[in-house]
Amino acid sequence: MSGPPGGDLARRFLAAAEALMPASRREWGRAMLAELDQVAGRAARWRFAAGAARAALTVPRGRRLPWLAAIVLAGAGCAAGAAIRMLAPGAGVAAAVLVPGLPAICAWIVLAARRPARQDGLAGRVVQVAAVAAIAACPVVALQAITRYPQGSAGPLTGGWLVLMMVFSADLTCYLCLVLRPAAPLAAGRRSGLLGLAAALVMVGCFLLHQFLGVPAAATWAAAPAAVLAAVVLAARYDGSPLSVMGAALWAVLLGGLAWFIVTMMTASRAISLDARDPATIAEAHSQGAASVLAWAAADDLGASIMILTFVFTLLIIMLSAWGVLIAQDIRRSTPAAASQPSDRCNCHSYR
């Protein structure tokens, strides 16, 4: 039995899961969708769709775990932990273990679970490399800034700090997933990737103008959404495809957010290292600074930067990704022949 035209909710649910499958497994996703079309009864269809979605989202890797990546990440984590113990002994053993450990474990999970997808074209690869480099730089600059923060040497980390670190690590892991294995419709294409990269550069340029030439901060804050908007408008003008527009917005927000975070961390770190020579500055930071994570986030640029990247940009990226996948589904539904017709190359074969 086939579902209603355009697919019922169970089919749409499974189609969304299928869209997230790696390209090498997409044929299996189509097989499950075709099978669902034969299942009669709402309950049976939902049971089948739920099981098939679980299979789609946890597809067998088909390869060995990247042991080399595990060894490299473990080495880097140990080195970073030792560095934290030397540079900021007051942060405590938990910080020395968790701060490098969580991102390392998350990165390994990403690498072990999904084979990195090579983006099509030079522009896509440039964007992918830039994004991976920016993601790798985020924990480094955050750590540098925090260890220079006067409160950093005042005592071991509190529960609030540890929670924030875990959220921060989870965010970076999600970004890494998005960059290394984006859902096919959201991969950085030539236009969307380059527009996103350009928007990111504009954001950084405006911020540097604010830092070094005294351009008002309001102009900097206005430049960020304006840069994203410009990327979207250009994508719409030159391509017009909703997916291209969504891709440009997604990559602009992701790259811009990362770039903005790195620049903010570096400049804040620089300012802290200069100001902290003044005993009064240190005393002030102790009295009003990091009594709690939220107070710290509200009190100074460093905390606000971490919070904005951790929550605001992440929320935007999640929304854009979900929107893009929904648009892709609509497009596939509107061209059923392309969506449901099996490819010729799969007429008879074994998957190797």
Binding site: E35, P342, N347
Partner: protein, 105 residues
């Protein structure tokens, strides 16, 4: 390094179901009902078998009008050998279910 691990009981059940008619092509929902496996368990097993060259798959060549083509499966020679080796483990998870006719759900 190729692992020669004994198949799980669920995998053995799938192998047993497919080996019952080595020349015939089976489809996923049919296999799931025969082995009492949900799609979430069945498809990863089929993917693994196909990855190892023990299962071949193809799309239904002439689907009835108004119905999309189904994905069909059968064991390769290597899959049949594995099924023979795993035969004692299979009946434990199999339940007596009538074999569905191809083309129907």
């Amino acid at each position: 390094v190729t692992r020669n691990r004994k198949p799980s009981r669920q995998t053995a059940a799938v192998l047993h179901a497919l080996a019952a008619d080595p020349a015939g092509w089976r489809y996923g929902y049919d296999l799931g009902r025969q082995t009492s496996l949900q799609a979430g368990s069945l498809y990863p097993i089929l993917m693994r078998l196909a990855d190892r060259g023990q299962l071949e798959a193809r799309w239904e060549p002439d689907p009835p009008p108004g119905r999309p083509a189904r994905h069909l499966y059968r064991l390769t020679a290597a899959g049949l050998a594995l099924a023979a080796a795993a035969a004692p483990a299979a009946p434990a998870v199999l339940r007596a279910r009538p074999r569905l006719q191809p083309g129907g759900a």
